[in-house]
Symmetry: D3
Subunit: 250 residues, 6 copies
């Protein structure tokens, strides 16, 4: 099956939802990694396409990178709309642009940060989050607060690694990550760990085994939540702040 | 297939999870209604058993009824554990006893209140909840606060109907419910509605059509969230407040 | 005076309130210790009966134990109602079942956690709580949040001792407790300490002397608060969430 | 017994605590009313003196009046210290100066606002407060927030009466108060009412009967809480923010 | 003086700061209006340039419009940096992109929402905000929460007018605005009003006179706050979440 | 120009606002230091008078000192009103009496704590505060909470120096301060520092250079904020809790 066919299979071929997973940065090796884990965790019947915009920063490390990834991300959502996707995952832990995406999508849009917070809050009294660079900490702290999860979140920590080190300097990255997770367990008395970057999805199983407590990955969490929302027949409310944008010429 | 066989199918017969849905009150007609909607919303491959304890109040209307339902509920969780269930739904909107259930269950345990709050928060900026009797309002307000969802929740409202009126006085119950939902939309400016009782699950589709905004039902939400947690390989953390109870003689 | 007579003295014999203190676990040596300190702190004129259910866990260490103690606890409240008690203390720091108790009691019901939080907030800008096992920490953190006391509470800590070690391994228990209190003072910069277990009531005076700051015990606090509520003529509101349970057959 | 003798009875004459109730405004008829209700609610054995400074505003209506009452209030606390009082009530619903009082007093100091909030939170899921003039609403809202009681407080309301109307225009004052309380019950769905002014203490019983729900008066609440704190052997912590002021010449 | 000269005056010509005010939408008549009020309120010595991007939505009504305005906005910030501007105002009440702007600007960047919230909180106990369309309400509510101002904000309201109606349907717009402000005063008991759109800046004086309470405009507030920050020698911290973006090729 | 002339310059002589800065303690050397920094930071055209009451504690260290400074402070505000000052700064980091001041002043009144919190929140994601003595920590924590700034404030710390050590034991004071600031940066991961005492204003520049992150001084912040409020035409709202005190004889 070629890529085009895969994207738009006749409805009869699937009995489940069509979900588009968008890595908003432009690093295709990360997209491939995400795709691999999404594919191995999707429900039978679910059709998933994982892709990334090309006109986007290679990694999203801070507010500016996040802002610069928006045009590409929104374009992909529009493409997904045209191709009848039933739901969307935004696979950046900053939940970049999800509010804007919800205005233009018909089906649900879920960010990997929010998904992992919700999931973790139902299996543990509290958790700590471990992200890549220190500069991402305040962004994630703001999200934790936005979603009302301060009481669950012991601490947002950084393993002090660049996002792309997860792709091209794996040993150091994984090492730092494990050290920071162990500090979180000891110092924060947390019952679970959330991985604060889409690029860590492949490490979930190993880290959980090493840590001895549940390690929650946002990519898989968001995929499963989108499946759950679609399965429950739920779509984004269109009567208020997520109503379709007023058409404008510019 | 007799009930016993259904409960404990050989693992080879299913490719999906085994989920136990427990209605903690003892009204079997409500359990049947829940079972019907759970069955029609479960993923292909999921095996679900829906049941209720017999030694429990016929409806849970207040803190006392909730407390009195706990021994029966916990017994059913233990039974589910022995029969290899992978996850559990507690189908009462008071999320009765879910913390205690989590201590004795291996797989995830999800309450229908928390599930619907999480789901609604990802498809709307805010919501109002409509429950049965006024006496349940403070219980639900406490849950909203416990889960950090105050900022999403416009108001907890009551349709002023007894829980069992949903079974045996349907016209009045449905009428009151619709009136209260319309008041919520107009007065609270909410973008979604959450149904605050397991017994309302069959009305979700109709109410959503009448209301013109998403109406979230906790029963289906919790089923889908448990499927999602199991699909993501997540179980309750056993290192802290949910660790297995210390065995005691009494 | 035999026990039966003591329970139901003619009203003329007392000029003060009749208060029932219930230790919801079934360890009578702990009940005796509680009784001793309640008796030495009650106001002249107050009549107090201290007892425990027999069909209850020997100690309450976690959500499950708490749930399993409820039938016995609620039975004792009913017994107190029949015997004209004017107010009730639930002497477990998890404030187990107090909402349910309030529905079936006429007079006020006070938990030892809430009582000590309120008391401490009026004599110090902040406090730390020291409980027994780590598994109780999240339960107490939830209570602190439920009562709106996050801003007063520096930290909930555990001395890492089983509840019954307070009865049968006293030297170790007291030692650990004092060490943890000293850590709290140094690390949390707290102005007061709250003892997070009913079984610590006899240590209050000693610990306060050792610590050099106020140490608040929940048992005595709750007794005095119940006396205060009765003295002010206040009873639980019966118009809302604490109204008398709707009678049900099961 | 003359006033001087009454103030400083030999310890042997009382078996209970000596409590000083200070009305920080200078209206002696209000002080007399407070004294009457304090006397009729004190525990047997408690000795109470109720008084007011003379160099103080006749009523405290706003931040400025509150500030101007402080020197007189603090002087009375010092006088109480010299005369061996064991505890203090500040009988203004703005809890004027209680933090400063705590620095110079040995025994506990309780404000009537905080006392009533704590009491009400243990007999109802929520309450509304009814005060005198609208200008006092933000002050009380700030106190509710300071004490962590936002989640219990439905609304702070004003009956639109001057403080002294409670003394010299009683019919209008009581009428307005009852009307506002009835609005609170209907509109706020509150389970209890708190009276937001010391001058309303004599109306508590009547208003409670008319309202059909518990009406909490701060004056009596604070008296009982001070008795409770003293009875529990608790004094203000002196290691942190309430430590004795550093002596200064000026 | 031609425009180019005006933009980059030799430092010797001004004794005050150079401030760039950016209207992130592309409607130049709105920019002109903003410029007029900025010019009439700037301190003597302050040099201000007011402009807008051309590749931006003509009005920002919702999350999507906000996202689409970011590339143009960030480009203008970069232009300002190159031309030695000392500080920046983002003149959209959604505070669009201010976090991203702060990463690339040397001097302070202030949004008109945050500026007006801070200003209003120092002249009133509370305020209500009146914006244009209902779809902007949740965005502003999120900002109020992000800035910690929930306790000051009574309600976010909409006058139900499109942003550009402020330019081309003035009578209706002004009328609706005044009606909504009067409702806010009566129903919310607020002490001040904040105008929730940059396009309302010219109405501030008139509305304040009509309303009889302070009406706070974000545009002038932000200008004055930027002057204040520059005057105090304060620049955005560059050690954490606002540090300069890591250079990336794409 | 003699002092009298300076206080009440003919309006024609200034094109900017007249601002009164009040140091509420009675230490004139501290007032002189404040005056010096206020003068060097005021806008051209602004006229500033800096003074202190004589009947006030020499330093404000705790609630009691704060209360005792109020009569002198309020007297100075009244004097400022009579002499046509357009705005007021209260130069004590406890924001002593600012609510009362707002009732009697026509122009805006700004405390140095609130001013620095607002300023810092616009240039950093978070900050820590370093004050003088530990006893001031709870007062400042309460202010942080009152202003809704908990989410920005990492920690309130004390350099363990008396206020007047900043005047007469400078080397030790400055040393301790720098050590505490460095601890804050390392342990709290804060992006900015706020100096928690008016007497530290002269150290701002030096500390900022040593710390390598923005150091915010309340005195200059408050001056600039008052200039900003006046420049925006904003005065304290007089319709609610800050309305002019009701005249009273006593």
């Amino acid at each position: 099956m070629n890529k085009q066919a895969k994207i738009n299979p006749p409805k009869s071929e699937t009995d489940g939802p069509k979900i588009l997973v968008i890595n908003p940065n432009s690093t295709s090796t990360m997209t491939d990694k995400i795709a691999k884990f999404v594919d191995s965790h999707k429900a039978s019947g679910t059709f998933v396409e994982t892709l990334n915009p090309s006109n986007s920063p290679p990694s999203i490390e801070g507010h500016y990178d996040g802002a610069m990834s928006l045009p590409g991300l929104l374009e992909k959502i529009k493409w997904g709309e045209k191709n009848d996707f039933d739901g969307f995952v935004v696979a950046c832990f900053d939940d970049t642009g999800i509010d804007a995406c919800r205005e233009i999508a018909t089906g649900p849009v879920v960010g990997i940060c929010e998904a992992s917070l919700h999931m973790a809050s139902m299996i543990a009294h509290n958790f700590s989050i471990v992200t890549t660079l220190p500069r991402s900490i305040p962004i994630i702290e703001d999200l934790v607060s936005k979603y009302g999860m301060e009481k669950y979140c012991r601490k947002v920590r950084s393993a002090n690694i660049e996002v792309l080190a997860l792709e091209n300097d794996e040993t150091r990255a994984q090492n730092n990550l494990l050290i920071e997770i162990k500090s979180a367990i000891e110092e924060d008395r947390c019952e679970a760990i959330i991985l604060g970057c889409a690029g860590m999805t492949d490490l979930t199983h190993w880290l959980s085994k090493e840590a001895g407590i549940p390690v929650v990955d946002g990519v898989v969490s968001a995929l499963k939540i989108v499946e759950a929302l679609i399965g429950a027949g739920l779509k984004t409310s269109k009567v208020g702040g997520y109503s379709t944008p007023i058409p404008k010429d510019y």
